[in-house]
Symmetry: C2
Subunit: 316 residues, 2 copies
């Protein structure tokens, strides 16, 4: 971030017509945002939401409550404006793009082979990278991919350590048997692909949409576009960047705490405090998109409020 913009934003924040600290987290968010936008008085006018979709060979192991064809059906739903993320993007004035990544060619089942070849993971990363509009001023990346909480749990365990049990949750809603099956699948994947290298973990255990999210978050950094992370899968993809380069997520905040069991642990590992905690566990970027409203409000207060001097108010 730009330290001069942060210093300028802090100084401005101290002069606004409110008791010091009275806007709580909104003040921190506005100052953080200012630092990445190189101005002490930023605006948000062009949020972008990108949804990446991928299919997972590991679905053959019975890890999801939904059949894999739901991925392509939901992509059609995104394109026709019928999903939750469409309503949320519209509510907060974000443009929304959808990228379906080779849905007809699922990744390999990671219990038997690496999920992707090197060429495949690089293609997915670059699709994500190129999906970011450099003119955006805040980015949310989301995903759709039946089976991808299994993949995300495996990636998180590989790069952050811990057991399959620590990271595996109920996803879209598997029962106790399903959870035991998922956990076993993740454990087998970790045993087969024994790596903590972030790119290798993405390739062997991840999925195209996870790689694309990582690529997009990295691209946003080069464009100085602040990112709002969504839930468990987005955070697992993001964790590969932080593991690769410490501080790689300094331009990102956690939009929400998801109801997916291990998300709190994942945010702890990333050192991120969620903005919202409303029990969402949908993916699609929904929790991140919901937090756009809070960030817009924070920046609107910071840049729109009068100072004590401008308003002729006694500063206490």
């Amino acid at each position: 971030p730009d330290m001069a913009s942060i210093a300028g934003a802090k100084e401005r924040n101290g002069q606004l017509t409110k008791p010091p600290g009275a806007l709580g987290r909104l003040e921190d968010l506005a100052i953080w945002y200012a630092g990445w936008r190189d101005t002490d008085r930023p605006q948000i006018t062009a949020p972008q939401v990108i949804v990446f979709a991928g299919n997972h060979g590991v679905c053959a192991q019975g890890v999801s409550a939904f059949p894999p064809e739901v991925t392509v059906q939901m992509v059609a739903n995104f394109e026709h404006g019928g999903a939750a993320i469409n309503q949320l993007a519209k509510a907060f004035g974000a443009k929304m793009d959808v990228h379906a990544l080779d849905l007809e060619m699922p990744t390999q089942d990671f219990t038997v082979a690496p999920a992707m070849s090197e060429a495949e993971v690089v293609l997915a990363l670059s699709t994500g990278w190129n999906a970011v509009d450099p003119a955006s001023d805040v980015l949310v990346v989301g995903e759709m991919g039946i089976g991808n909480t299994t993949s995300a749990a495996a990636v998180a365990a590989a790069v952050l350590g811990g057991s399959a049990q620590d990271w595996t949750g109920r996803g879209t809603g598997v029962d106790d048997d399903g959870l035991a099956r998922k956990t076993d699948v993740v454990a087998r994947g970790l045993a087969r692909h024994d790596t903590s290298d972030p790119l290798e973990a993405l390739r062997c255990l991840g999925g195209r949409e996870l790689a694309a999210m990582a690529g997009a978050i990295a691209a946003a950094r080069t464009h100085r576009i602040p990112v709002i992370l969504d839930g468990f899968i987005c955070s697992a993809a993001a964790a590969t960047l932080e593991k690769a380069v410490e501080g790689a997520l300094d331009h990102a905040v956690a939009g929400h705490l998801s109801a997916e069991g291990a998300h709190a642990k994942l945010l702890d590992a990333l050192g991120k405090q969620p903005i919202l905690s409303l029990g969402l566990r949908l993916g699609e970027g929904s929790g991140g998109a919901l937090a756009i409203g809070v960030l817009q409000a924070a920046v609107a207060c910071h840049s729109g409020m009068a100072t004590f001097a401008e308003a002729g108010v006694a500063a206490g």
Copy 2:
């Protein structure tokens, strides 16, 4: 609420293209909202934010970090669009009204006399009642009044029980000595006006802006306008209604948990879970207004999403 609309909204919610429960609290909010709007597929198009301002005789006891003239200065700031609440109302498309209630005539210092006469409290209640636009579809009421966390603490203690210490906090930011002084002032007020009657507590210990907030929240009920409560002061004013008639706040949700010490205890007493918890402690309706965005998003998802049948998505 209208039980048929609630039943219809629940049925619709179960058919939307998402795993059951995956939108968490947003689903509950949309169904609650539908029940008060008498339709299973509501819209939010006309939020209203009303800020009531009052002055407090108890300021003579040195209970605030700010001088009492800040109340009228902040009213001018609201009217010129320079306060936090102006930016928040604008961010979420709410119209905002400001009512200054006899600022040149502060209430009486409640340590020596009732804050208001009967005529005065009734006038304030009716000002609040009449301030509500019947065409609004969600209401946030906020306040400005140097000294009013002291008044709110006294009202909360009177109607909900407990000691002055239980309910007195730092407000806009008093130090330890200030907090001790405030607590003593609240205790003396409670000793002088020994009542748990809600209207009498508002009259003797409250303020014009607290009474106006109570009046507006009650009026919203008659117009079937759902209310988002703001922080400690708004919640204390609202508590008088709940104490008068159990269930009187069923049309209200708690917008946020404020950083004012006793707000959590107050929300517990009202049985309300806050939507947001971002450390705000500004008043003005700011936390309630911020939650408008979440409610809008909840209703937009509920009413805008496609069903599984409409989208041709397998329901798992």
